[in-house]
């Protein structure tokens, strides 16, 4: 933990130990609560959830898809560092590997919570697995990806673990166990580690693309569901996974820096913020393409689903994602990481308002009652015409944007908050993808459905989230979350990294 290498000058000291303990206590309480409800779910059945017909899938599957996505950021950054020698992100590599592994574990937790027979699932998917099912493809890819992530984490952490054996003799055995007994730190062994890492980085990147593609196919190949059945699902999943994964990494990096006081420089956060700011518009592009295709062609079934999403019950989530989850953080990150852009962002945001109003006035409103409802909520009066509502929605994003752009908070905190928004935004997007299509359209004349997650369902999901926090706390306690060489306390006796260039220069035996 932090005591291994005292914080550098620019790094804040982190919070007091009691505060950290309180956080862990809260997480533990959430997890234990969830465990109680898990036992209830195991004894009663999925009846404790809010699932019904046709909302066969609910919060658990939304979370499963979301966590699969979150694991993307980890492997991307780790691959960039170890496979492509991008040294800028070196301090984040360990954290990235950690999230790649633990988000996958949490996703597996969610899928095990979702199935009706968790007693059969882990065995039957192997004994009776049907190669034609996208779920089986996902099982295979998730397992491969987990294996690769674990191997990645192992080979990049091994030398630090060996060093921890020296630094903390009391836990020598633990670190030896974590290093799987392979404590050889000769230059030759380390060079071999680097070669393995480079190979794993390439495999990992390919597998990451495959993972999100296959997860997208679970919904994208279902012809019965109008909102899902779309070829754009796979690329859109890859991009939204990248956005949420990078955002999570950024949030946790800020957290690690502020709360644990580990040496992650502000420069690194800015660089990652740039990467995130660039990837958000790509997601916006895919969303826009899909939306335009549906709204322009107006195929009744798909249109119905999108009307439920944009003007129906899930409209707050849709507009919330669009404005607070994507546009606002995009503007904020742009203004923070490229300070020269600050005025452009704010004036652009304000200038866009009349354009949106004009567009709204020009286009016929699809759902007048939605406009009436939103205007009643936002403006207090029923809007005389739709042109007021959309700019009002748009202007909701202005105060948070100005808050994030103003210099009142430290830069890293502002980056962290701006990165937390797209994490939540992508969660909402997953909800809208999974749920609207299930409840939005039926091919036969069924009465209108309703799904709302039940209390136990929400608490169990929160508990799994808390479990992720506990995993993080555990990792922070026992594993150096930032690679040790970046700290100044490198004992001269153990010269593990003799030259910084050791992994940049290609090893001779690798083609």
């Amino acid at each position: 933990m932090a005591e291994c290498h005292p914080a550098e000058e620019p790094t804040p000291p982190g919070v007091a130990p009691w505060a950290r303990k309180a956080m862990v206590g809260l997480l533990l309480a959430l997890t234990v609560t969830a465990l109680y409800f898990v036992t209830q779910q195991l004894t009663v059945g999925l009846a404790v959830t809010g699932l019904n017909r046709p909302a066969y899938w609910g919060l658990y599957v939304v979370n499963f898809v979301f966590f699969i996505g979150l694991s993307a950021g980890g492997i991307i950054i780790a691959s960039l560092v170890h496979g492509f020698g991008l040294q800028e992100f070196r301090p984040l590599a360990r954290l990235a590997e950690f999230w790649a592994i633990s988000c996958l574990l949490l996703a597996i937790c969610f899928i095990m919570l979702d199935v009706g027979r968790p007693d059969r699932t882990p065995f039957y998917v192997f004994w009776h697995g049907r190669p034609g099912s996208p779920l089986i493809w996902d099982v295979v890819v998730i397992n491969l990806y987990l294996f690769i992530s674990l191997a990645f984490g192992y080979f990049s952490t091994r030398s630090d673990l060996v060093r921890m054996m020296e630094l903390e003799p009391r836990r020598r055995r633990l670190y030896r166990l974590l290093a799987l007994g392979y404590t050889d730190c000769s230059e030759r062994a380390l060079a071999r580690d680097q070669r393995v890492l480079r190979a794993l980085a390439l495999v990992g990147l390919v597998l990451a693309v495959l993972l999100h593609t296959v997860t997208a196919w679970i919904v994208g190949l279902v012809i019965a569901r109008p909102g899902w059945f779309s070829a754009i699902m796979a690329p859109m999943f890859i991009v939204s996974a990248t956005v949420s994964g990078l955002a999570l990494l950024l949030v946790s990096a800020v957290f690690t820096r502020r709360v644990l006081g580990l040496a992650i420089e502000e420069r690194v956060l800015r660089d990652l913020g740039r990467l995130l700011a660039v990837s958000i518009p790509i997601l916006g592009y895919f969303l826009f393409t899909e939306l335009l295709t549906v709204l322009y062609t107006g195929k009744p079934s798909a249109l119905k689903v999108f009307e439920v999403m944009m003007y129906g019950r899930y409209a707050p989530i849709f507009w919330g994602i669009l404005i607070l989850g994507l546009m606002c953080p995009l503007g904020a990150l742009t203004g923070i990481v490229w300070p020269g852009m600050r005025r452009v962002v704010v004036s652009g945001w304000i200038l866009a308002t009349p354009v949106i109003a004009l567009l709204a006035a020009h286009l016929e409103p699809r759902a007048p009652e939605f406009v009436a409802r939103v205007s009643a909520a936002l403006l207090g009066v029923a809007a005389p015409s739709p042109w007021l509502v959309y700019p009002a929605l748009w202007l909701v994003g202005l105060p948070p944007l100005l808050l994030l752009l103003s210099g009142r908070w430290a830069v890293d905190i502002r980056i962290g908050v701006a990165a937390a928004l797209p994490v939540l935004g992508v969660l909402g997007e997953r909800w809208n993808i999974v749920m609207t299509s299930l409840v939005g359209y039926a091919h036969l004349p069924y009465p209108p459905p309703a799904y709302f997650p039940s209390g136990p369902e929400v608490l169990i999901s929160l508990g799994v989230w808390a479990l992720g926090g506990l995993l993080y706390a555990l990792a922070a306690r026992f594993v150096p979350l930032v690679e040790l060489e970046t700290g100044p306390s490198v004992p001269p006796a153990v010269s593990l990294w003799p030259a910084d260039a050791s992994e940049v220069q290609p090893a001779p035996r690798v083609s």
């Binding site: 017909r53 039957y124 679970i218 569901r225």
Partner: protein, 235 residues
């Protein structure tokens, strides 16, 4: 090899729900109770849907009284190209050679992918153990455990019984010997059941009628439950 199928004449259906009740009794379909039903978890292998407002041309001004009432009895459609069996990860649901789409309750892991993939919402999940084995149930039909998917089987046990009886008596199974519960009880004979591949059979003849339609046919599922109705009801 026969290809079992059903033809339902919606112009004859009075919406009396006898088929739904017969199915419940025949197949040990649990009564989930009012609370669970209000949550949208009722299990009806055979369900009579009110189709009055379905595919109605909306700009025709019509008060509620002017809408002619009509019903859509909905069993599993036993698609010839079933989307549910395509996605099952463990082969728990499959199309048997005679065209019946079946579910293996002891194999199902309850992932509900097949329910999601079914355009007609004809599969059901046992959210809790609704029914324990006991007297008054049909001994030929398994009582489903908790956490699995169940569905209409075209009263498959009746096919097995009819076959066995024919074999014991040393003859071939006669046409009409295999009848499903909903068809038997229909007071207006709106439901016909039989072998679609047999050229002279009643269902094959009715399926060729110009009044025949299959809902959401454009999905390529090829349902083997075919509806007969006046043209304006096809939508």
């Amino acid at each position: 090899m026969p290809l079992w199928g059903m033809v339902i004449d919606v112009d004859r259906c009075t919406g009396c729900q006898a088929c739904a009740v017969a199915c419940k009794a025949e197949n040990n379909v649990p009564v989930v109770g009012p609370v669970e039903a209000a949550r949208g978890r009722a299990i009806d292998w055979m369900e009579v849907l009110d189709a009055s407002n379905w595919k109605r041309v909306e700009w025709a001004p019509a008060g509620d009284q002017d809408v002619p009432m009509w019903f859509l009895p909905r069993p599993c459609f036993h698609c010839d190209n079933p989307p549910c069996t395509q996605v099952c990860p463990v082969n728990a649901t499959y199309r048997d050679p005679e065209g019946i789409v079946a579910q293996i309750y002891d194999r199902c892991i309850g992932c509900r992918f097949c329910m999601v993939a079914c355009p007609y919402e004809t599969k059901f999940f046992t959210f809790r153990r609704y029914l324990k084995e006991g007297p008054g149930q049909n001994p030929d039909v398994t009582v489903r455990p908790r956490g699995v998917v169940e569905k209409c089987t075209f009263c498959h046990h009746r096919l097995q019984n009819a076959r066995e009886r024919a074999r014991v008596e040393g003859r071939r199974m006669r046409t009409g010997e295999y009848a499903v519960a909903c068809q038997e009880v229909c007071p207006t004979k709106a439901i016909a059941f039989g072998d679609l591949s047999e050229p002279g059979s009643e269902v094959a003849r009715l399926a060729g009628s110009p009044r025949a339609f299959r809902p959401a046919e454009e999905l390529g599922t090829k349902p083997k439950v075919i509806y007969l109705g006046r043209r304006e009801r096809h939508g």
